[in-house]
């Protein structure tokens, strides 16, 4: 088969999606940093095109794209597979990371207004995060997922302490150790599964999975591990200091996409791998923790003195929403499809709006020299576009109409109403209220006239427009129709479609 | 013939074990690091030598000469590295003892860190 034909089909592109971002690393290692920076952004752009091509291929063919590494079929070899949901995540991640790359670029011509150029390490870690995320969304082998998660953690942790301050290094170490604790619990689960079934391929295991004691323990360990890495409520100790300490571009991508990988895997475990009896049993517990996350973390966000910490706690709270989806999606009824679409839409609109909010907060901090919320009054006149981006992002978090957050909230609400899960509906509404609290607290302060005129450093305008573009995409999600989207359901239930003996 | 070899092996291995035990007791009982170095290097090396010597005939009988040569090579390597390393630890312990003022609590009880 000639190379050209190979690349045309979506199956071939899966591998390209994983390895393409890594090509930026040698350039960054060897070339001077200005050229390397541009090359990395070009690679990010190409990767977005590849992700779009994969999504297009999956959409057109109506079936999941699959390819096998080295031609070896599971159970011996490792398979990559892109169903509707993973293609959706690929495109979302590629778009957010491209925007982050553009945001972090040095203003052509002179070093960046305010902060100096991002260190070369940032770009290498960005490329590694991108490749690791793509692999997490595509890999069908549990051990490959383990190595991908580790690659993701090792690339994300140094991003937190790029500026090298004491508190940031402390936060990075705490993040690394807790993520490693989670990963090893996950690996213990994987080992038990291999002991039971002799294979690590999700689809083959799902075929043979029965509710045996070993499988129950394996699922429990794997779920706990992913909860630790997703910073779900009682385990969110590392998220606020890490995501608020990182430089703006890094905290944008950490909160928007890195935190979503373990959640994606939890959705895959509980909706693909686990038998439905177990899923229905465990889902209320996951939703309970999600509800606690929404309430407690939103309240704590309201009490934060600094803007970045407020947004970081908001991330911890919004993650709770994604766990509310499990009992609704696990119930076998037509409405669980709507809940599932709502959850996916919330995941995507949160990614874009949170990235926009962190970038806006970074620009505000750069302009004012600090990010104390009390000192924010009047910033609306200094960096109006950033505040507008922050406001639009906040709109999506609050779930108000023009934004994607609203459509997701309505989908989850109607599914909860139909399935009689009243407490989930109540928590969703309370979450919107509390989100309104902390977003409006900042926006109203920023719109007020300052006591004494603000002295502010100039901020590169095109970086403000990057943040606004992300916020507008989050608003764009508001025009998704209020019905279960069939694209997300391509390739479900998961199967290798006869390609495996 | 094999009986003689077996007896030979048992006697030598027992002697080797004896030396190891002496070395370990020395490690636990002796007060300061320099003394402990003696116990470790001398007793354990001889113990290992006897052990290897005892096992060589068994190896020759079982798997031909290569195994025996490997064991002797290992013994030589241990001789080399333990000699050099004990020299270094001696330097460090000596310097630490010199610079340590009498008031400092005797930290020699549980091993010496390479003094900065």
């Amino acid at each position: 088969m000639s190379g050209a034909v190979l690349f045309a089909s979506a199956d071939a592109l899966l591998v390209v999606a994983v390895i393409l971002p890594l090509f930026a690393v040698p350039v960054l290692f060897l070339a001077p940093s200005r050229i390397a920076e541009r090359a990395t952004v070009v690679v990010l752009g190409l990767s977005l095109l590849v992700a779009l091509a994969i999504a297009g291929g999956v959409g057109r063919s109506g079936a999941a794209a699959a390819s096998f590494i080295g031609g070896w079929r599971p159970p011996l070899g490792v398979g990559l597979r892109a169903d509707g949901f993973s293609a959706f995540m690929l495109v979302m991640t590629a778009a957010v990371l491209l925007a982050t790359g553009l945001f972090a670029m040095t203003t052509p011509g002179r070093s960046r207004a305010g902060g100096e150029r991002m260190p070369p390490a940032f770009w290498m870690l960005l490329a590694s995060v991108f490749s690791a995320l793509n692999l997490v969304f595509l890999a069908e082998d549990l051990f490959t997922l383990y190595v991908a998660l580790e690659l993701l953690t090792f690339a994300a942790v140094p991003l937190v302490c790029l500026e090298g301050k004491l508190a940031q290094v402390e936060a990075a170490l705490r993040y690394l150790l807790f993520a490693l604790f989670g990963s090893l619990l996950y690996l213990l689960g994987v080992v038990v599964i291999y002991g039971l079934y002799g294979t690590l391929d999700i689809i083959l295991v799902a075929r043979e999975a029965t509710a045996s004691p070993g499988f129950v323990l394996a699922l429990a360990l794997m779920t706990a591990g992913m909860m630790a890495k997703a910073a779900l409520f009682p385990l969110h100790l590392w998220l606020p200091p890490a995501h608020s300490g990182a430089p703006p571009a890094a905290s944008a991508l950490l909160s928007a996409v890195v935190i979503k990988a373990p959640i994606f895997l939890l959705v895959r475990f509980w909706l693909d791998l686990a038998p439905s009896t177990l899923a229905v049993a465990v889902a209320p517990m996951l939703a309970g923790l999600g509800a606690a996350a929404i309430v407690v973390c939103s309240l704590v966000a309201l009490a934060q003195p600094r803007l970045k910490l407020l947004i970081a706690y908001s991330t911890a709270a919004q993650i709770g929403y994604l766990f509310l989806m499990f009992p609704l999606a696990a119930a076998s009824s037509p409405w669980s499809a709507l809940a599932w679409t709502g959850g996916a839409l919330h995941l995507a609109s949160h990614a874009f709006s949170k990235a926009a909010m962190f970038m806006a907060a970074g620009l505000i901090a750069e302009a004012l020299g600090h990010d104390r919320i009390a000192g924010l009054s009047g910033v609306g006149r200094v960096v109006p576009v950033s505040l507008f981006a922050f406001g639009l992002g906040g709109l999506s978090l609050m779930g108000l109409p023009p934004a994607g957050g609203f459509v997701a909230k309505v989908m989850l609400l109607s599914a909860a109403v139909h399935l009689g899960a009243w407490w989930i509906a109540a928590v969703i509404l309370l979450g919107g209220l509390l989100a309104g609290g902390y977003v409006l607290k900042v926006v109203v302060l920023a719109l007020q006239r300052p006591a004494e005129p603000l002295v502010a450093q100039p901020v590169a305008h095109w970086r403000e427009w990057v943040a606004l573009a992300l916020a507008l995409v989050a608003v764009g999600f508001g025009f998704v129709p209020l019905e279960p989207s069939h694209f997300l359901f391509i390739g479900r239930p998961a199967s290798w479609a006869g390609m495996v003996p | 013939m094999t009986l003689v070899l077996d007896i030979f092996t048992v006697v030598l291995v027992a002697a080797g074990l004896l030396f190891f035990i002496v070395g370990t007791v020395g490690l636990l009982r002796l007060p300061d690091p320099l003394a402990r170095l003696h116990a470790l290097t001398k007793a354990d090396n001889i113990g290992l030598g006897l052990l290897v010597l005892g096992l060589v005939p068994q190896a020759v009988v079982a798997g031909g000469g290569l195994e025996a040569v490997k064991m002797v090579a290992i013994w030589l390597l241990v001789q080399l590295s333990s000699g050099a390393v004990s020299q270094l630890m001696g330097d460090v312990a000596y310097h630490a003892a010199m610079t340590a003022d009498p008031a400092a609590p005797d930290r020699s009880a549980h091993g010496e860190e390479p003094a900065p």
């Binding site: 011996l76 290094v169 604790f181 038990v192 002799g198 009490a303 | -």
Partner: protein
């Protein structure tokens, strides 16, 4: 009670000790060591599974062995990164004028400013 089962139980025991160490460890080095113990335990269980899977001419199933080798190298890079962070933290703390060690994260004005001794990882 064959060898693989014995070592499987040992792996379980090592994992339990590693988990205990991670819970009880009060400074970063203790936690890194406990993490490595837990890793050793997990790989040992994998080794026991491999040994049970012997057959077709191999004394142990080669696939888990390969995975354990990959796991050990990944665990090493994790330890190297953690130790580098740890040394950098110690260097920053030792430097005069380093910020007073406070628990990582916000001391919201809501709670009295009770500074805990060095909130290490």
């Amino acid at each position: 009670m064959s060898a693989p089962v014995l070592f499987g139980l040992l792996g379980a025991a090592l994992s339990a000790v590693g988990v205990y160490g991670l819970m009880v460890g009060r400074d970063a080095l203790a936690r890194i060591l406990a993490f490595n113990l837990l890793g050793g335990g997990v790989f040992l269980v994998f080794g026991a599974v491999a040994r049970r899977g012997a057959g077709a001419g191999f004394a142990a199933d080669p696939v888990p062995q390969a995975l354990v080798i990959t796991g050990i190298v990944v665990a090493f890079s994790a330890t190297a990164l953690a130790v580098a962070l740890l040394k950098r933290l110690a260097a920053l703390r030792a430097r005069p004028g380093a910020a007073p060690a406070k628990v990582a994260g916000a001391q919201a004005e809501g709670t009295k400013g009770r500074v805990q001794p060095g909130g290490d990882a």
